[in-house]
């Protein structure tokens, strides 16, 4: 069970890294996520079927996600559409795009090699094989986390952090804050699409509905992570997001374990979400007083 929680938690942890950028850094409620997650999955699934090595399909998924973020960003910045609405517009449009990329609503990958089932993973020694999926996911999640950490420590990353904190500073530094926002949305959705692609490779199928609620899961993960661990200042927020996602999945596993009535599942998620949000407002107020 732990294995499964870690696997699922880390896959959605990559998604949470994306939401860390939009929600925490940019303060942008980006609904594109619900469609860029299946977008990455569709791209990865279709290209894998076409014979592309699974690792390369991940790169293509990243690019497709960046493109989705670019569109939301352009709608918001260039057409002056409100943040929430620009995400909704892209999300709605991408649904059709996803369906057309995949060709149908459900694309199985059971017959060929995937990222987690190929000659290499089969050649692993017996004691490692049960963990091969987790190890590969861990590797990808860590790469994503370290890449994001590195980016946020560069000059471009500084601007990204500044634009969410105080856009006026970016403007007085003679930089176009609109471009910085677009860049942030691109990186965020690239990460989300990567998560979708890894998910498709792991579950070995693409399903059009797999993005439903992706944003809520990612958001909950970010909020759980950053609120529970904000005292551990040695932990970076990216680490907190990954841990938050694992905890979220552990909660779902618990709900399954105690045999929660299916019809209450969504309500429990909503209540859990509300509790986290309210408790996070609580702590934010305290921080404010200290300032």
């Amino acid at each position: 069970m732990l294995l499964s929680i870690l696997e699922q938690g880390l896959i959605y942890g990559i998604l949470a890294l994306g939401l860390l950028i939009t929600y925490r850094i940019l303060d942008f409620p980006d609904l594109t996520v619900d469609s860029s997650f299946p977008l990455g999955a569709a791209v990865s699934a279709v290209l894998t079927l076409a014979g592309m090595p699974p690792v390369l399909t991940l790169l293509c998924a990243i690019l497709s996600g960046a493109l989705a973020g670019l569109i939301t960003g352009l709608i918001h910045v260039k057409c002056h559409v409100r943040d929430l609405l620009s995400g909704i517009i892209t999300m709605t449009g991408l649904y059709s795009v996803n369906l057309n990329i995949a060709g149908k609503a459900n694309v199985p990958l059971f017959s060929g090699d995937t990222l987690f089932k190929n000659a290499f993973t089969k050649s692993l020694p017996d004691f490692l094989r049960p963990y091969s999926t987790l190890l590969i996911i861990l590797l990808i999640a860590l790469c994503a986390k370290l890449a994001l950490d590195w980016f946020l420590s560069t000059k471009a990353g500084f601007l990204l952090r500044a634009v969410g904190d105080n856009p006026a500073v970016v403007t007085t530094l003679a930089q176009d804050q609109g471009r910085v926002k677009i860049l942030g949305l691109m990186i965020a959705n690239a990460l989300v699409a990567l998560a979708g692609a890894v998910m498709a490779q792991q579950q070995r199928f693409f399903e059009i509905s797999m993005g439903t609620g992706a944003m809520v899961i990612g958001l909950a993960s970010v909020i759980i992570g950053t609120n529970l661990f904000h005292r551990f200042s040695f932990l970076r927020s990216t680490t907190m997001a990954l841990i938050g996602s694992i905890l979220y999945k552990a909660c779902v596993a618990l709900a399954l374990q105690i045999g929660l009535d299916a019809s209450f599942m969504k309500l429990v998620t909503a209540v859990l979400f509300l509790i986290i949000l309210v408790s996070s407002q609580f702590t934010r107020k305290k921080v404010h007083i200290r300032v």
Binding site: N166, T172, A174, Q175, D176, V291
Partner: protein, 257 residues
């Protein structure tokens, strides 16, 4: 040199709240001059700064920067040569980032914000040397988040950030108004020193008539979108706070408040 020619600015055009702020407003600010702008609320002081910087568009007229027409130039491009400090200390700094990160970011103005390291260890000594003489203890707090600083510390940092790199113009928007008197003096002295050292063309909006008289080489008083007093050079040196206050009061009485 900054020049505003025949500027028209109307707020809320076509609504019942329509108010005409500037009608055929012109002003010229000579290179290397330090101009203080005073006036009552709603007199158009801050709008003047916003029009210069491009934060708000104009409805007519031309804005020139060193003879070049910048009326259509976007706000962020104008800041390539302008530094600006706001009234609210939080506006000029990023609270969630450390002092070092804020300074490094400002230090890079005019260059590319690419994928090289955001902070440069070798510059840290320079930053410390820059902060130490202020006597605010900031030089030992490079790794502290700016949100944890006091308003005065933040505003001093904002001023330094706005003027770290080579530039020609400095826009000060009541930048001492939110500070306690002692800190306000420190920030004002620092401002004067930086303006002199860098030979900046400076436009300072202030509510503090004493600052307006004591600093700079030209003073402008504005009222309802018009310049009602404009003294420079010797004339300005003769000017006393009491004179300004008298004029200020007479304007206010005319308006009935």
């Amino acid at each position: 040199m900054f020049e505003l020619r025949h500027i028209d600015k109307v707020y809320n055009p076509g609504t019942v709240h329509e108010t005409c702020l500037f009608r055929d407003f012109s002003l010229r600010i000579q290179t290397h001059s330090f101009v203080s702008v005073v006036g009552s609320n709603g007199s158009g002081k801050t709008s003047l700064l916003n029009i210069l910087c491009g934060s708000i568009p104009v409805d007519g007229g031309t804005i020139l920067m060193d003879g070049r027409d910048i009326t259509q130039m976007r706000e962020f491009r104008r800041y390539a040569r302008i530094g600006r400090v706001y009234q609210n200390p939080a506006m000029g700094t990023c609270g969630s980032m450390t002092i070092l990160e804020n300074l490094s970011m400002a230090d890079n103005k005019g260059k590319r914000y690419g994928l090289t390291a955001g902070t440069n260890r070798r510059r840290m000594e320079d930053y410390r040397a820059m902060l130490a003489p202020l006597g605010l203890g900031l030089e030992d707090k490079l790794g502290v988040q700016v949100a944890a600083l006091s308003g005065g510390q933040r505003q001093t940092l904002a001023l330094l950030m706005a003027t770290m790199t080579p530039l020609d113009f400095l826009i000060l928007d009541e930048h001492t108004a939110a500070l306690d008197p002692k800190t306000a003096e420190i920030v004002m002295l620092l401002t004067d020193r930086i303006v002199r050292e860098k030979k900046l063309t400076t436009l300072m909006v202030t509510h503090n008539l004493r600052h307006a008289v004591a600093y700079g080489d030209r003073i402008i008083m504005m009222h309802e979108g018009h310049v009602v007093l404009d003294k420079a050079g010797e004339e300005k040196k003769q000017l006393q706070v009491e004179d300004l206050l008298g004029l200020f009061n007479s304007i206010s009485i005319e308006c009935g408040n």
